[in-house]
């Protein structure tokens, strides 16, 4: 993981794109993170793509309901990668109920297509501007968002809600 110093390309690109917004940079074991407010996320990601981050490695979300010391409910995480020199950057943004909408990153990287559908499936975060927005992994009729912390591991009975076939009927 390369050091992102204060004059690095990515810092400059972000500061040029969002001059008046206060951003928090942090670092842990060589991995750099930046926290961006949800309203500015589209500009930030476009600026980073133009600065060289050409691959969206992963897009995920975390439910901070039971996290000690959290101020927001959901954290959406973008893991970016520059394929030519292996620079990695983590971009985090925060969302709160009831407004769980965020612009889609599909116009920037096509990999965001299914990754965003999965985040919607598991957490209920809506990505606006997505070409084909519906559930990915769970059946369409499923009503809850399982990876939220208030949903129990064993579910609420959806897994056994099916008709039984016995030998006589088959």
């Amino acid at each position: 993981m390369t050091q992102i110093s204060s004059d690095s390309v990515y810092k400059q690109a972000i500061e040029k794109a969002l001059p008046s917004v206060a951003l928090r940079w942090s670092e842990f074991r060589g991995q750099h993170r930046i926290d961006v407010p949800a309203a500015n996320i589209a500009t930030a990601l476009t600026a980073l793509k133009e600065a060289g981050m050409d691959q969206l490695c992963d897009l995920t979300a975390v439910d901070l309901l039971e996290y000690p010391g959290a101020t927001d409910r959901f954290e959406v995480v973008y893991l970016l990668l520059n394929t030519s020199n292996s620079d990695r950057l983590t971009v985090r943004t925060y969302l709160n109920e009831p407004n769980l909408q965020i612009p889609s990153a599909h116009p920037i990287w096509i990999a965001a297509d299914w990754l965003e559908r999965e985040v919607y499936d598991m957490y209920g975060i809506v990505f606006t501007g997505h070409p084909n927005f519906k559930r990915l992994l769970l059946p369409d009729a499923f009503e809850s968002f399982p990876l939220r912390k208030d949903y129990p591991v064993k579910g609420r009975g959806e897994r056994h809600n099916f008709p039984i076939i016995t030998r006589a009927e088959s």
């Binding site: 074991r29 969206l56 992963d58 000690p68 995480v77 990915l136 059946p139 399982p146 591991v153």
Partner: protein
């Protein structure tokens, strides 16, 4: 109807009425486990393919919030079940990165050997079933015979053929014995002949080449933008290999080449996998010669690794050490941070993004599945190909439903 006509911005929607919908259902031999494709066909040509996945979604990420780092390795095993130890190595690579644990040299070399054995294992299955789907059953049998030998090697080290649950935080479950080393050396001697038999049946086989050349092309821009990694990306010209670019385990000391191709079609992906098998064999030969002696578990300053079982049963210090590491309230705390650790698994870049809240279990452990990103590119690869090419393309991108759905 030609593809260009359909794609043009003023395409007449009535022309779509000539298309025929075919459901390539969740239960089908060519789909390699449960995935579903809804194909729009114009005669034999595939115009559009919409995948429908989730038929094996088991809630792995929800389980990560309940099980601790050492227990979750059994679940992670069951993700890419074609190369199980690769997942374990990736998981513990991420966990040890989060906890800041540095492994002993012997552990690094053993894990490297297993990672490369699993690469051969996965590529043998992928290429074998790709050929089987196109009709060649003999090559499939040859590939599977070699896989049996790798199963035996895993069994000798850990006790199970696959779903081994072999790695632990800071080390491995058991150390390897001398007859394991002899088995690996024996494998290195017999594999090249089996490879030549297998490759000789397939690589220059006219039917195979004509069915896979030019089929399912993935361009370099689509590969990078779509998040493709591993053999799928390397076959499209993206020269990236995590073993070389961000070295981990013992790859710094070993000498190997990164295999790339420029076609981006099924045949290129097949070629990359075949070449990677030979490179992996080279790595295994070097690593098994250089295997250092020493402990397999980190002892270090804190009591991070698990002690040897003979110590646990025979001395009180070993028992207390074991107790401190296993009992839920007494394990070592982890920093309250998030960390992303990735390795080059046979399918691509398999990474885990772990968010920790101080406990010895993950608050959130996200798997970055290479199969999901490759399958989302499938609809781009299949446009304009024939119906019978669907099997070839699906086989070449190596989708494993358990990793896709988690």
């Amino acid at each position: 109807m030609p593809l260009e006509l359909m794609d043009s911005p003023n395409a007449d929607p009535n022309q779509r009425e000539g298309l025929w919908t075919l459901n390539f259902g969740p239960q089908h031999p060519a789909t390699h486990t449960t995935l579903r494709l809804v194909l729009q066909l114009d005669g034999e040509m595939v115009m559009d393919a919409e995948p429908d996945i989730g038929f094996l979604h088991s809630g792995f990420e929800k389980l990560a919030e309940v099980l601790d780092y050492n227990q979750y390795v059994t679940i992670v095993d069951r993700m890419n079940y074609i190369s199980p130890m690769a997942n374990e190595i990736a998981w513990h690579h991420a966990v040890e990165g989060l906890l800041g644990i540095e492994l002993t040299p012997r552990c690094k070399y053993i894990r490297t050997i297993f990672a490369e054995l699993m690469r051969i294992h996965d590529h043998l299955l992928c290429t074998g079933t790709c050929v089987l789907d196109l009709g060649g059953a003999t090559a499939f049998m040859y590939a599977f015979n070699e896989r049996e030998k790798i199963y035996e090697i895993c069994e000798r080290a850990s006790g199970q053929r696959f779903h081994t649950g072999y790695t632990r935080v800071g080390g491995l479950l058991y150390d390897v014995t001398d007859d394991w080393i002899a088995m690996v050396k024996d494998f290195c001697k017999t594999f090249p002949k089996a490879y030549r038999d297998f490759a000789g049946l397939v690589m220059k086989n006219r039917i195979f080449v004509e069915r896979t050349r030019g089929v399912g092309v993935l361009t370099k821009e689509d590969a990078i933008g779509g998040g493709a990694t591993g053999p799928v990306a390397r076959a499209s010209g993206v020269e990236r290999d995590l073993r070389r670019d961000e070295p981990y385990l013992a790859y710094d000391d070993l000498d190997f080449d990164v295999c790339c191709a420029t076609g981006g079609d099924c045949y290129a992906r097949f070629q990359v996998r075949m070449m990677e098998m030979l490179e992996s064999l080279k790595i295994i030969e070097q690593a098994i010669d250089k295997l250092p002696s020493g402990p397999v578990f980190v002892s270090g300053t804190g009591k991070e690794g698990l002690p040897d079982k003979s110590e646990v049963y025979r001395s009180i210090e070993g028992l207390i050490h074991h107790f401190e590491n296993i009992m839920p309230n007494r394990q070592m705390p982890s920093p309250k941070e998030s960390y992303y650790g990735a390795t080059e698994s046979p399918n691509g870049e398999l990474g885990y993004y772990i968010v920790s809240d101080g406990d010895f279990k993950a608050y959130r452990a996200r798997t970055r599945p290479p199969s999901l990103l490759h399958f989302s590119l499938f609809s781009r690869m299949i446009r304009g190909c024939m119906l019978s090419d669907v099997a070839a393309v699906l086989g070449s991108i190596n989708i494993i439903a358990a990793e896709l759905d988690r």
